[in-house]
Subunit: 217 residues, 2 copies
DNA sequence: ACGGCTTTGGTGACTAGATCACCGACAGGT
DNA sequence: ACCTGTCGGTGATCTAGTCACCAAAGCCGT
């Protein structure tokens, strides 16, 4: 079965032969929400390509605090993991499914064969690297120089559904920012005091997106 | 001239043909110390491979504060730049030579040809990615969770020459850490008060490496 | 329905680090 | 000697992270 290749735009341009090769080396796998795809110190031998759902990649400090590094969405691959391992560097991060996830595992041999044969596949892989690295640069910029209120406001806007509701705990928002729960709690209280959000246990509802958006610049 | 290939251990294993190809596409260039190899928003079309000297890659925030992301040493390449541009992401960083630098510029076409033909070259490139990504993870970990005194102590040890002397300004040390000059000044004063270093304008001399090393854990 | 347990969030006191607004001291050039 | 730019020092203030706790809300078993 190679129907999945059509679901990834960047791979549609593969030649028929390369498609067949990819189909032969790729195996569809599935994981439920909340499943750890990679943990600290694990050594996957496959390249993973997400078809549906999202995977969150986060990092934990020695002191137990965590920060979200980036997310792998449908059509993207977890190239960094592969790269870290090719370089014999410990992959100091953890990947967790946020939803039910369908993915394709492509064996190391398959990846190598395709990198050799296909310029399209190479562009796909390198493009993925570039986007991830840009993500990491953004994280560094935010953590080193960003204000916590602006960062929190930005996250609230991106996570809110159409009704402006976010179902999450303060602790999870803190992990998102690499900050502490108390800090997030106090910021949320301040937002509530200003009438920008309303809070209840396990959820936040935005009542003034414009104000949050202003702050998040 | 292809003598430079022997100076990069990872590329010695190339076949004679691939060596010839690499030599044909590579052009040796030179830059003095303090030269900006890439600036913000520049779009290089070559892969750069450093033969001697070091290049510092740093990032500047909107507010003007800077942080050093990593260094490219002899034998390493600036793959991230290339990747960012392949992905059409703005490369939000600046690369500056710290010493006189000799490098080889390999054209995009040459890189593509070698990635196609040579497993050795692919491993070289991917290994480079992995190491850089590990560097960025370390930076994020330090900035998000690390203490400034420990980070400063660690930098002092790595930058010190055999006599324990570091010729640098407080501002440059602050950039190294992504912190502010005043913060570094005060920390250095505290180290001096404890008898771990002595300071003079434009230089720091370590007098108790062991104590600094203890702190830097 | 009750009592315990876990998860979640609230709070005050304190520390670390960043920011702002200065100032003085030194070095190099003319 | 004087001017100028660089470098470092300082206090006040603000923001963020840490620590130690507590209380309320849901969860589960009996």
């Amino acid at each position: 079965m190679s129907g999945w290749i059509d679901r990834i735009e960047a791979l549609c341009a593969l030649t028929a032969e390369d498609r067949a090769l990819l189909a032969r080396h790729g195996q569809i796998i599935e994981a439920p929400a909340g499943h750890a795809v990679f943990g600290y110190g694990m050594t996957p031998e496959n390249m993973l390509l997400v078809l549906s759902g999202t995977v969150r990649v986060q990092h934990m400090s020695d002191t137990g605090r965590e920060i979200v590094l980036y997310r792998i969405e449908a059509g993207q691959s977890c190239v960094l993991t592969t790269a870290c391992l090719l370089a014999d560097e410990a992959y100091a991060a953890e990947a967790i499914t946020e939803t039910k996830v369908e993915a394709v595992a492509i064996s190391g041999a398959g990846v190598d064969a395709l990198l050799t044969r296909s310029a399209v596949f190479r562009r796909f892989v390198f493009g993925g690297y570039g986007r991830r690295v840009a993500d990491l640069f953004r994280v560094i910029d935010e953590v080193a120089f960003g204000r916590i209120d602006a960062r929190l406001a930005a996250r609230l806007i991106t996570f809110a559904d159409a009704d402006g509701v976010i179902r999450t705990t303060h602790q999870d928002l803190a992990t998102e920012l690499g900050s502490a729960r108390e800090v997030v709690s106090r910021q949320l209280q301040e937002f509530q005091r200003r009438g920008w959000i309303s809070m209840s246990r396990g959820s936040v509802r935005l009542t003034d997106r414009a104000a949050l958006s202003d702050l998040s610049d």
